[in-house]
Symmetry: C2
Amino acid sequence: MEHNGGLGERRIIEIIENQLEIMPRMPIPFGDDVSAYEIGNGNLAVLKTDMLVAKTDVPKGMSLWQAARKAVAMNISDFAAKGVKPKVILVSLGLPKGLSKKDIEDIGKGLNAGAREYGAYVVGGDTGEASDLVINISLFGITKKNLIMLRSGAKPGDLVAVTDCFGKTAGGLKILLDDLSAPPGTRKVLIESVLMPHARLKEGLALSQTKAITAAIDSSDGLAWSLHEIQKASNVGVSITKFPIAKEAKRLAKINGLDPFELTFYGGEEYELVLTIKPHLWRKAEKAAQKAGGKLIYIGKTTAKRQAIFEINGKKSTIERRGWEHFKSSNA
Amino acid sequence: MEHNGGLGERRIIEIIENQLEIMPRMPIPFGDDVSAYEIGNGNLAVLKTDMLVAKTDVPKGMSLWQAARKAVAMNISDFAAKGVKPKVILVSLGLPKGLSKKDIEDIGKGLNAGAREYGAYVVGGDTGEASDLVINISLFGITKKNLIMLRSGAKPGDLVAVTDCFGKTAGGLKILLDDLSAPPGTRKVLIESVLMPHARLKEGLALSQTKAITAAIDSSDGLAWSLHEIQKASNVGVSITKFPIAKEAKRLAKINGLDPFELTFYGGEEYELVLTIKPHLWRKAEKAAQKAGGKLIYIGKTTAKRQAIFEINGKKSTIERRGWEHFKSSNA
């Protein structure tokens, strides 16, 4: 079925952007994960808005509390990728008919839980009636202009790293939606990754302080997509030589005959950071991530040739520019 | 029919707020028109988010361009009421299936038109699929803390004023939805007020500079509702002695046998400012509004007794605490 004349999410954004008059001296260009406004003394007001629509973003098995918390976490993940601490959150709710007082309390509690988990507060918002449950989150924070991590600074020869292994949410979604089987422990980890996503805010804030990071993005649209976005914004290529698959995803793939490469590179709704790092500052970055309670996993390098290659055991394959896209994935 | 267990929009907001941990030293309390965060040197970052849902906010006869422009204008109206200049706008779009490239261009053009009309720029956003057309706007601006106009500063004996007469949008909506008849000139003005609402930003900015304003709100939920909100937030009463009905609304009421009081006080989606003013600074405020290209219309006074009274030609009536509320109005 064709949606919106066959237009995908990214094409729609492009069409909208083409109608807009561009603000002079815009500190962060369209297409990065957040927007900003210069407020003097080298500071940026950083802004982000993103809409969770239950129909496409809330899988079977996710509670209203979890959905509300996720709406906050998925926005904070973008702040994490830019190294910006969220201060306050505004919420717009579109509520379908038939919700009970308890349902609305659960939504409120989930919003608060998501905010407080990352040190932010919900300070305002709005509600109205809608056909779907819609939770729109707006974030605000402040950062030094010279600390913000954009998508666009990678140079050939930088090291490519991620904050954890991949494939858990893609696996978890398959369990929730397609009833795949898995041992209880594996099942729990995979489902948890979908229902209780976690933004890598501590890591992002610590990494931005190191000045080691040349480009950063979160992996909400999938690892492959994130690599391609850095490639496009920084005008480099990437050569991935490590296969960062989570052990639970690997196990699920084996049991159910799934393609582990597909789970790892083309999943989505997975909120890790994908980073490029100055080689001589690798140790500094790694230590910062560890001190923040996380880790940095080396997976490859950036290259001068603009192509995304996965190269392991002497075998080369192309990492395709595709990923998680609601519009196209739901009925394509 | 019962919606959400019979809960209205304002009750839902209350339930949500009760689940939230309150930010210490919140510069603007819940329940005012905007939210804020202190950024030092006496400055506030001011934030606002509001969602337009086509099903309840876009009447028959309104184009996509107009709907997008309105989504911006209705948010800017709240900034106007607080005396804050909007700097940048973020947009989240929920798009139903079946929109064409032209439709999306029209939405983009409408967003840009709304932003530029008030000197702001759209600098970012997001899009996804939804059942309804949903346009969520987030505004950001900066102001001096001591210039912001809240709902809560009115004192007994202040003068109550509005920036224009009322009843045009309520009348226009009746023409669009119930096919009421009106002479062409009247019809045009009334419909225009619905399709092309205008935020009183120039007036709001000028008035905030005068320090004459003790409380302010816009009238998007209706004049009666705005008066009650000021009353509640400032702990005063209001005695309205002038009947600020627009001549076109008066004409429509006469032709169609409508209650002019209902049109004037209990309409909605009308974006005037409702203000309370220190009596000795009335002339200063009036001049500021006029210099900004607008006007101030005196309609009454605030009182010590907490009641909202309309008193004209010796006859008293109570202004009820009711107004435009989507949830309850659509099927009640």
